[in-house]
C-alpha cells in the first residue's frame, strides 16, 4: 500500500441497506415538500413521515440485533474513498431508535402548540416548526449513518440550520440574540472541524471513517487535525466551558423545540466526537487526551448542576441540567479507553461496560430530558409562567405532567429503576474497576446535586396548599399522556438494561474491546 493512500474496502450493500438511505431521505424530502405544500400540508407531512421513520428505525435496529452485523450502503454504488458509504452499527441503530421515539413524541406533543385548524391560513411559526423538525430528523439520521467526515460536516450544518430557527421562533429580542449567538459559535465550531477535515484529507487521501482508521498514524497531521475537529465538535456539543450559547438557546425555544435541541441535537456532535476518537483514530486516544475530555465532563457535571440549582426559571434550570448531563457523556473517553493493565485487576470487559453505560446515559438523558422540557412547556402553558418559586400546588393541578417530570428527574438523579440509574451505575462500576475512582466521586456528587434541583421543583409543587391553583389554560390530557409516555420510556430503559447493551455491542469500535485484552 502506498503511504497515506487508502485503498477501497471489499464492502457490498446489505440487503436492507436501502433503509439507511430512507432514514435520511424521508425527512429530507419532507423538508422540500413541506415548503412546497405549506400550511396544513407541512403538519400532515410530518405526521405521515413520523410512523414511516419510526418503522425504518425499528426495522434497521431489529435487523442489526438479530443478525448481529452492521449494515452498509454504498450510495450510487460508488466505493469509498471516492464514494460515500452509509453504515449502521449497533450504536447507529440505538441512536436511530432514540431519535425516532423522541421525534415521534415531539410530533404528537407539538400538534397541540403548532397544529392548524382545518381551513386555516398558513402561519409562520407552525410551518417553520414542522420544517425544522424534519430538518433535525434528517440531519441527525445523517450524522448517525454517514461514514464520511465531509458528509458529516454537511450533516452537522444541516442540524445547526434546523436548530437555530427553532430557538428564535417566538421572534423576541432575547431569543433572536440567543439564536444569533448559537449560530455564530456553532459556525466557528464547524469551521474548526472543517479545517481538521482538510488536514486529514491532505494527510491520508480519504475521509471515510473506516479507511481512515486503517491508515492513520500518530503524527502531527493527525494530532492537529484531531484537536481542531474535537474542539469544533465540543463547541457544538456545549461541553463546559464552551456552553455560552446553550442556556439562552434551549430555554428560549418553544417546548417542543427545546426538547429536540436538548435531547438530540447536542448529541449529534457528541456521537461524531466519539466516532472520531474511538473509530477513526483510536491510536491517538492516550491517557492525556482521554483524561482531559473526562475532566471537562466532570467540570460540566459539577458546574452545570450547581447552576441548575440556582435558576429561578424552570426552563433555564433544565437547560443547565443539560450542561451537566452532557458532562457525564464525556466520562466515556477515560473509562472506555482504559489500558489493559488498568482493567486486568478485576478481569472483565470494563471498557465495554463503560461504553454501554455512556450510551445508555445518552439515550436515558434524551428521553428524560425531552419529557422534562415538554412537561415544562405544559406547565408554562397552564400557569402562564415558569417561575419555580410560584409552583405551589402544581402537583394537584397537573398531576400527570408532574409525574412525567418527576420520572424524568429520577433518571437525571440516577435513582433506580430508571435508565439514568443503570447508565450511571455502569459508569460507576467501570470507574471503580479501572481504579479511576475520581470519576465515581463526580458521578455521585452530580447525582446529589441533581436530586437538589429536582427537589427545588418538587418541594413547592407537592406542598399541601389550601388555595387551589389558578390555571390559565386547561392542558389537554392527551398531551400530558405523550409526555408521560416518553418519561416512562426513560424508566423502561432501566428495567431492561441488557437489551440495548446487546445491540450496542454490534460493531462496537474494535478499540474498545481490543484494549482490554
Amino acid at each position: 500500500m502506498l503511504t497515506g493512500q487508502a485503498s477501497t474496502l471489499p464492502e457490498t450493500n446489505s440487503p436492507i441497506g436501502f433503509l439507511l438511505v430512507l432514514a435520511i431521505a424521508l425527512p429530507a424530502g419532507g423538508v422540500a415538500l413541506s415548503l412546497l405544500l405549506g400550511g396544513r400540508g407541512a403538519q400532515r407531512l410530518a405526521m405521515a413521515t413520523m410512523p414511516l421513520g419510526v418503522a425504518v428505525a425499528l426495522v434497521v435496529a431489529g435487523n442489526i440485533w438479530r443478525s448481529g452485523r452492521s449494515l452498509t450502503y454504498l450510495v450510487g454504488g460508488w466505493h469509498p474513498p471516492l464514494g460515500i458509504a452509509l453504515r449502521a452499527d449497533g450504536l447507529s441503530a440505538v441512536m436511530l431508535l432514540t431519535t425516532a421515539v423522541v421525534i415521534g413524541a415531539v410530533c404528537l406533543y407539538a400538534r397541540g402548540s403548532f397544529g392548524l385548524p382545518a381551513g386555516a391560513d398558513e402561519r409562520r411559526a407552525p410551518l417553520v416548526f414542522w420544517i425544522m423538525l424534519m430538518g433535525v430528523w434528517s440531519g441527525l439520521n445523517a450524522v448517525w449513518l454517514a461514514g464520511d467526515l465531509f458528509s458529516l460536516y454537511v450533516a452537522l450544518e444541516l442540524l445547526t440550520f434546523s436548530a437555530v430557527p427553532l430557538v428564535s421562533l417566538d421572534g423576541s429580542a432575547a431569543t433572536l440574540e440567543a439564536a444569533l449567538r448559537y449560530l455564530l459559535f456553532a459556525l466557528i465550531g464547524s469551521v474548526l472541524y472543517l479545517l481538521g477535515t482538510a488536514l486529514l484529507y491532505g494527510g491520508y487521501g480519504t475521509l471515510d471513517l473506516v479507511l481512515l482508521s486503517h491508515v492513520i498514524k500518530p503524527e502531527p497531521t493527525a494530532f492537529i487535525a484531531a484537536s481542531l475537529m474535537t474542539a469544533g465538535l465540543l463547541a457544538k456539543t456545549a461541553l463546559f466551558p464552551l456552553h455560552l450559547w446553550l442556556p439562552p438557546a434551549h430555554a428560549g425555544a418553544p417546548a417542543g423545540g427545546s426538547a429536540l435541541l436538548s435531547a438530540l441535537v447536542v448529541k449529534g456532535s457528541f456521537i461524531l466526537t466519539v466516532r472520531l476518537w474511538f473509530e477513526a483514530m483510536p491510536s491517538l486516544l492516550h491517557l492525556g487526551t482521554s483524561q482531559l475530555l473526562g475532566a471537562l465532563g466532570a467540570a460540566a457535571v459539577l458546574f452545570g448542576s450547581v447552576l441548575a440549582l440556582r435558576q429561578a426559571r424552570l426552563k433555564l434550570m433544565i437547560a443547565y441540567s443539560t450542561i451537566a448531563q452532557i458532562g457525564y457523556l464525556f466520562f466515556l473517553f477515560p473509562l472506555a479507553s482504559a489500558p489493559a493493565e488498568a482493567t486486568s485487576m478485576f478481569g472483565d470487559d470494563w471498557n465495554g461496560i463503560a461504553w454501554t453505560g455512556g450510551m445508555m446515559q445518552l439515550v436515558a438523558h434524551a428521553t428524560a430530558k425531552a419529557a422534562m422540557f415538554m412537561a415544562a412547556g405544559l406547565i408554562a402553558e397552564a400557569l402562564g409562567h415558569d417561575r419555580i418559586a410560584e409552583f405551589a400546588g402544581l402537583g394537584r393541578a397537573l398531576p400527570v405532567t408532574m409525574l412525567a417530570f418527576g420520572l424524568g428527574g429520577m433518571s437525571l438523579m440516577g435513582l433506580p429503576p430508571s435508565g439514568g440509574f443503570v447508565a450511571k451505575a455502569m459508569l460507576l462500576v467501570a470507574a471503580m474497576a479501572e481504579g479511576q475512582w475520581w470519576w465515581a466521586v463526580v458521578i455521585l456528587v452530580g447525582g446529589l446535586l441533581a436530586a437538589g434541583y429536582m427537589f427545588r421543583v418538587f418541594a413547592p409543587a407537592l406542598a399541601a396548599v389550601d388555595v387551589t391553583m389558578r390555571r390559565r389554560v386547561v392542558v389537554p390530557q392527551s398531551r400530558q399522556a405523550v409526555v408521560l409516555a416518553l418519561a416512562i420510556c426513560a424508566m423502561l430503559l432501566g428495567l431492561m438494561p441488557l437489551r440495548p447493551s446487546q445491540l450496542l455491542e454490534v460493531g462496537r469500535p474494535a478499540s474498545v474491546t481490543a484494549l482490554t485484552r
Binding site: 449567538r181 459559535f185 466557528i188 465550531g189 474548526l192 500518530p218 502531527p220 494530532f223 492537529i224 484531531a226 484537536s227 481542531l228 474535537t230 474542539a231 469544533g232 465540543l234 463546559f240 466551558p241 464552551l242 456552553h243 455560552l244 442556556p247 491517538l284 492516550h286 492525556g288 487526551t289 482531559l292 471537562l296 458546574f303 450547581v306 447552576l307 440549582l309 440556582r310 485487576m345 478485576f346 472483565d348 461496560i353 402537583g395 435513582l415 433506580p416 429503576p417 451505575a425 455502569m426 460507576l428 462500576v429 471503580m432 474497576a433 465515581a440 455521585l444 447525582g447 446529589l448 436530586a451 418541594a459 407537592l462 406542598a463 399541601a464 389550601d466 428495567l495 431492561m496 438494561p497
Partner: protein, 528 residues
C-alpha cells in the same frame, strides 16, 4: 409477595387500604419463616429471597405496618389532603417490606432508596417551615447514606463476577476483593446513617420529633430496620474480622450510651424515643460487631430477635405518645400501665419481650467488659425509659374525634400486647435452648439488676431533671450546621454564577475554544 404488595398498593387508593396493604407481607413472613424461599428471577432481573432473620424482621415490620395503617387511617380522616400522605405511605411501605426480601443488589438498592426517600413525604406532612427544614435535613442524611451505599455496592459488583449480582455472591466475594476495606467502610457508613450510629445520628431525634405520629411509628419501628437487615445481609459474617468487629462494637457501644445521655436531656417524648432508638441500634451494632469479629453467622438470628422486639415496642411507644396527646388524661392508667411495661421491657425487665431479646444477645456479649457495658446500657435504657414515661405523663392533650380515640386505643393495646407476645413466640420457636437456660432465678436476677440500677438512677436524678432538660444541644448544633452549610452553599452558588457570567462572555469562550484545541494537540504531541 412484593408484587402482591404492589398490587395492594394500587388497589388501596383510599386510605382504608392502609391496613390491608401489608397483610401479604405478613403472610409471607409467617409462611416462609424458618426456611429460605427463593423466587425465580422476575422480569427485571430482581430476585427475592427471605431467610429466617429477614423473615422475623419482615413479620414484625408488617405487623407494625398493619397497626400503624389502622392508626393512620383514623388519623387521616380529619385531614384535608389524605391522598398525598397515603401515596407516600404506600411507597414507604413497599420499600420497607421489599428491603427485607430483595436478593439482588439493584433490587435492594431500589427498595432501600424507596424506604428512605419516600419517608420524606411522611415526615413533612406537618407542613410548617420548621418541619420542612427538618425534612430537608432528613433527606440530606438519607441521600448521604445512599451515596455511601451506592459506592459500596459498586465496589461489590466490581469485585464479583458478572454485572447483575445477587447479594450473597457479592458478599461471598468480598473477602478477596482488593477494595475490601473501602467497601466495608462505606457499607458501615451507609447503613450507619440509617441506624443513627454516632456520629451520623443527628437526623433521627429531629425527624421523629417533627414527623406526624403514624409516620414516626413506622419510621422508628420498621424503617430503621432496613439498616439492620442491610448490615445482616452485607457484612461478611462467614469469616472472622477481628479488627473490624471491634471497631463496629465500639461504635455501637458509643451510640448506645450517647443515646441515653443525650436522651435524658430531652423534654419532648418523641425526641426521647428517637434517642432511645439511637441507643438500641447501637446495641444491635455492637452485637453484630462481635459476630463479625468472631465470624459467627448465628448472630444474625439473635439480632433479628432483638430487633423484632424493638420494632414492636418502639412503634407501640410512639402510639402511646399519640394516645397521650389525644386523651385528655382521664384514663391515664390504661395508657401508662402498659407503657411502663413496654418501656421498661426495652431495658430488659424480666419476663417482658425486652427481657427475652436481651437474653438472646446476652451470650454474644459475653461476661467481659463488653458484657458489663451491655448491662450498663440496659440500665441506661431503663433510666431513659423512665424519663420517657415522665415526659409522656406530662404531654398536653388535644381533643380529637371520639372515633379516632377508640381506634387509637385499640391500636395501642394491640401493639402493646403484640410486643409482649410475639417475642415469646419467636424465642420459643427459634431459640428454645436460650429460654430454658434463662428461666432460672440467677439469670432473672442477672437480667433484673440493670433495670433496678436504672430505676435507682432515675430516682436519684429526678431532682435535677429540670436542669438536665435542654442540656444536650446536639440538634441545635445540627440545625446551626445546616444553616452554615446552606450559607456556604449559597456562596459557592454565587461564585459559580460569577464564573458562569465570565465564561459566557464571547471572547472568553472563543479563546477557551482555541486553547482547548491547542491543549489537545500539545498533549498528543507530548505523549504521542
Amino acid at each position: 409477595m412484593l408484587l402482591a404488595c404492589l398490587s395492594g398498593r394500587w388497589r388501596a387508593s383510599m386510605s382504608r387500604g392502609l391496613v390491608v396493604a401489608p397483610l401479604p407481607a405478613l403472610g409471607a413472613a409467617l409462611f416462609a419463616s424458618g426456611a429460605s424461599l427463593k423466587l425465580p428471577p422476575l422480569l427485571l432481573g430482581f430476585a427475592l429471597l427471605l431467610d429466617t432473620p429477614a423473615a422475623l424482621l419482615l413479620g414484625a415490620a408488617s405487623l407494625l405496618w398493619v397497626g400503624a395503617g389502622w392508626y393512620a387511617d383514623a388519623w387521616l380522616r380529619d385531614r384535608p389532603d389524605p391522598g398525598r400522605f397515603t401515596v407516600w405511605w404506600l411507597l414507604t411501605l413497599t420499600g420497607s417490606i421489599g428491603v427485607f426480601m430483595a436478593a439482588d443488589l439493584a433490587g435492594f438498592y431500589l427498595m432501600f432508596t424507596l424506604v428512605s426517600l419516600a419517608a420524606y413525604g411522611l415526615v413533612i406532612d406537618g407542613g410548617t417551615l420548621e418541619v420542612r427544614r427538618i425534612g430537608l435535613i432528613y433527606v440530606a442524611f438519607a441521600i448521604l447514606g445512599e451515596a455511601f451505599l451506592l459506592l459500596a455496592f459498586v465496589m461489590l459488583v466490581v469485585a464479583a463476577p458478572g454485572v447483575h449480582t445477587m447479594i450473597r455472591e457479592a458478599v461471598a466475594a468480598l473477602p478477596t476483593s482488593p477494595l475490601r476495606n473501602a467497601t466495608l467502610v462505606l457499607l458501615v457508613l451507609g447503613f450507619g446513617v440509617k441506624l443513627g450510629l454516632v456520629p451520623l445520628q443527628s437526623w433521627m431525634p429531629l425527624t421523629y420529633r417533627a414527623a406526624p405520629i403514624p409516620a414516626a411509628v413506622v419510621l422508628s419501628g420498621a424503617g430503621v430496620k432496613a439498616g439492620v437487615v442491610g448490615l445482616l445481609h452485607f457484612l461478611p459474617f462467614h469469616a472472622a474480622w477481628p479488627g473490624w468487629g471491634e471497631t463496629l462494637t465500639t461504635i455501637g457501644l458509643i451510640s448506645a450510651f450517647y443515646g441515653v445521655v443525650a436522651g435524658i436531656a430531652q423534654s419532648n417524648p418523641k425526641a426521647v424515643l428517637g434517642y432511645s432508638s439511637i441507643s438500641q441500634m447501637g446495641v444491635i451494632t455492637a452485637v453484630l460487631g462481635i459476630g463479625l469479629g468472631s465470624g459467627n453467622e448465628g448472630v444474625a438470628l439473635l439480632v433479628a430477635c432483638y430487633a423484632v422486639n424493638h420494632t414492636l415496642v418502639k412503634g407501640g411507644l410512639f402510639v402511646a405518645v399519640g394516645v397521650a396527646q389525644a386523651d385528655a388524661g382521664r384514663r391515664m392508667w390504661s395508657l401508662l400501665l402498659p407503657a411502663t411495661v413496654l418501656a421498661l421491657g426495652l431495658g430488659g425487665l424480666p419476663l417482658t419481650g425486652g427481657w427475652l431479646a436481651k437474653l438472646a444477645v446476652k451470650p454474644v456479649l459475653g461476661s467481659g467488659v463488653v458484657g458489663l457495658l451491655g448491662s450498663l446500657s440496659s440500665a441506661g435504657t431503663t433510666l431513659l425509659m423512665i424519663h420517657f414515661l415522665v415526659r409522656l405523663a406530662a404531654v398536653p392533650a388535644a381533643c380529637p374525634a371520639r372515633s379516632m380515640l377508640a381506634v387509637l386505643r385499640l391500636t395501642w393495646l394491640g401493639l402493646a400486647l403484640a410486643s409482649v407476645v410475639v417475642p415469646w413466640i419467636v424465642v420459643v420457636t427459634l431459640l428454645p435452648g436460650a429460654l430454658t437456660n434463662a428461666v432460672s432465678l440467677g439469670s432473672l436476677a442477672e437480667a433484673g439488676w440493670p433495670v433496678l440500677v436504672g430505676g435507682l438512677l432515675a430516682a436519684a436524678l429526678s431532682p435535677w431533671r429540670h436542669r438536665m432538660v435542654g442540656w444536650d444541644r446536639a440538634d441545635a448544633i445540627v440545625l446551626r450546621t445546616t444553616d452554615t452549610a446552606a450559607r456556604l452553599g449559597c456562596e459557592i452558588g454565587k461564585s459559580t454564577e460569577k464564573l458562569d457570567l465570565l465564561l459566557r462572555r464571547w471572547p472568553v469562550a472563543a479563546i477557551l475554544l482555541l486553547n482547548l484545541a491547542a491543549l489537545l494537540a500539545a498533549l498528543m504531541l507530548v505523549t504521542g
